[in-house]
Symmetry: C2
């Protein structure tokens, strides 16, 4: 039995893009579960863009990780010791165990998985937080009507790919934006009506051609020049669920002028736009059970496909995470820990 | 009987702030109603900030007024000749007769008023488009809960004053922002919990002191430095109905940088904000009847007060309109035409 717990700690806060030096690999002691707790061994760790925010002290929707502490993160974990009758050794659960091999948790803070129902790693992707983010933002804020046009960026990623496929299931037209020909091809394979490379010099023209009736829902994952082009195509009453702004996460100062904030507000007014930021946790209590039921059925019948990008070993997590912020992953990025 | 129709035409399009030269006073012929039409004589003309948009060809939510055509506008008018049994001579109606003395209309495009129920000019203010704008934006988008903090700018104006008073009726805390001590005093008289002068050098500090629990609903009428200060005080899940941006209507180019558009989007994301532009026409069919019923009752029992700024004569309309865009009116600006 292993007696050390490999952990990835936040060593220093990044200025702009994170570097490997911001992280520290540490060998700690395996924690001891107390009465009412279980000891979890991490099978898969999820790497997600929101973690960039937790590395900084800037005001965000959650507290930052303290220096010297374990990086936060969702995991699929196996119960290796139980001091609570609610879970048995061998049970597989979704937890928030962070970037480490072992963690203790209370059963009420984890969700048990049925390993027969779907590959367990999907609980970190299409049937987990990214999938629910897509589902909640699209169906509760975007509310696409049949025949409307839904545009999503980072469309080969776990959130974007799910947004577009659910949009299709709901009868809308789905246009995906991705970076590079390989990702664009994958978006097409997923059944999107159109896929566009945002690195193309004529990206804005391609977007216009792919959205002849304008854009009714834009699921915002990225910001930057994609948003600039989308904004010009939004229809009256368009809805913009704002889920992420990965193009700006490493931004250390505001871009040079002119100041377009009032221009954005004028567009909101003139076109009766709805711009709505959200974090999926807002909707979990009321909508997660229905999501799991519907999305599991869609995965089973092949209407909702997913792609994973699996990295082996916790020691490789920092590099994989840094690459993800640059768009180098292809599909849901997970670390196979054990 | 008068045989000429005094009209105010759009003579040229303004660059920035409108000038008297953009308007032309014209004496035309009184139009003849056809079968199914009535001839209306304007009693009161409403002057509203949205008209600035109609003077320009920039994309907006409505078509611009053509050069040489009558300026558009809501009116309270009296039927002086009827060729339709639905309306009789002497009936008073709300119409869209524009900046002119006489106009023809079909009965189905006007709404008959009960002159005994309230002063007829209120149909252009607290019981008309501005009142409904306040009601719809606040109750359908802002959705204040009892105890929440609602902030509104241009709080001595017909929309803002109504927003704050309805917020109070709904059990929320109302903070009004206005320009100059006289308007601030009036906002206090209306029963707002606090009133702040946006011209004060320590405006942002005053706003912070008046919103100790942050801001849950900001009813946006103005933009500019008021929005800059409000944005910093918005709570998680705050709602921002965007009704007007009068500080920017005369803007001819974007302000210098840095470019804060991505900063705004990041705030939307981090705080799960809802920013929603609207024009009251979106909500008329479903909600206007209920508004008229509720607001009329509030006016009768004194819970909803209003103030009018009455200018005499169509010839004075251009100057009054230009002054309104500078914030020189005090209360709902109407022109007494006849």
């Amino acid at each position: 039995m292993t007696t050390t717990n490999t952990r990835v700690l936040l060593h220093s806060r990044p200025e702009g893009e994170p570097t490997p030096e911001n992280f520290e690999i540490d060998e700690g002691a395996v924690p001891e579960p107390r009465e009412g707790q279980v000891l979890l061994r991490t099978r898969y760790l999820s790497l997600d863009p929101y973690m960039r925010g937790r590395m900084s002290t800037a005001k965000s929707y959650a507290d930052p990780v303290e220096l010297g502490q374990v990086m936060v993160g969702g995991t699929v974990s196996e119960v290796v010791e139980s001091r609570d009758p609610a879970l048995a050794v061998g049970d597989v659960v979704v937890a928030h165990a962070g970037w480490q091999e072992y963690a203790v948790a209370r059963p009420e803070h984890v969700r048990r998985l049925d390993p027969e129902a779907a590959p367990i790693s999907t609980a970190l992707g299409v049937l987990g937080m990214p999938g629910f983010t897509a589902y909640a933002g699209l169906t509760l804020i975007g509310r696409p009507q049949p025949g409307e046009t839904v545009v999503v960026a980072a469309a080969s990623g776990p959130v974007g790919a799910t947004v577009g496929q659910i949009a299709k299931i709901l009868g809308a037209r789905a246009v995906g934006i991705a970076g590079g020909p390989e990702k664009v091809a994958h978006v097409e394979e997923l059944g999107f009506d159109a896929a566009i490379d945002h690195r193309a010099p004529d990206f804005a023209d391609q977007l216009a051609a792919a959205t002849p009736d304008g854009i009714d829902v834009y699921f915002e994952n990225v910001g930057g020049h994609v948003w600039d082009a989308v904004l010009r195509r939004l229809n009256t009453y368009a809805r913009v669920p704002v889920c992420g702004l990965v193009a700006h996460y490493n931004q250390t100062e505001l871009p040079p002028g002119p100041d377009r904030m009032s221009m954005l507000m004028q567009q909101v007014l003139i076109r009766s736009l709805t711009v709505r930021g959200f974090i999926q946790t807002e909707f979990v209590a009321e909508h997660e059970a229905r999501f799991l039921e519907e999305a599991s059925a869609w995965v089973r019948d092949g209407r909702l496909q997913y792609r994973e990008d699996v990295v082996d070993g916790l020691a490789n997590a920092p590099e994989a995470f840094i690459g993800m912020l640059r768009g180098q992953n292809f599909g849901k990025l997970v670390v196979r820990v054990s």
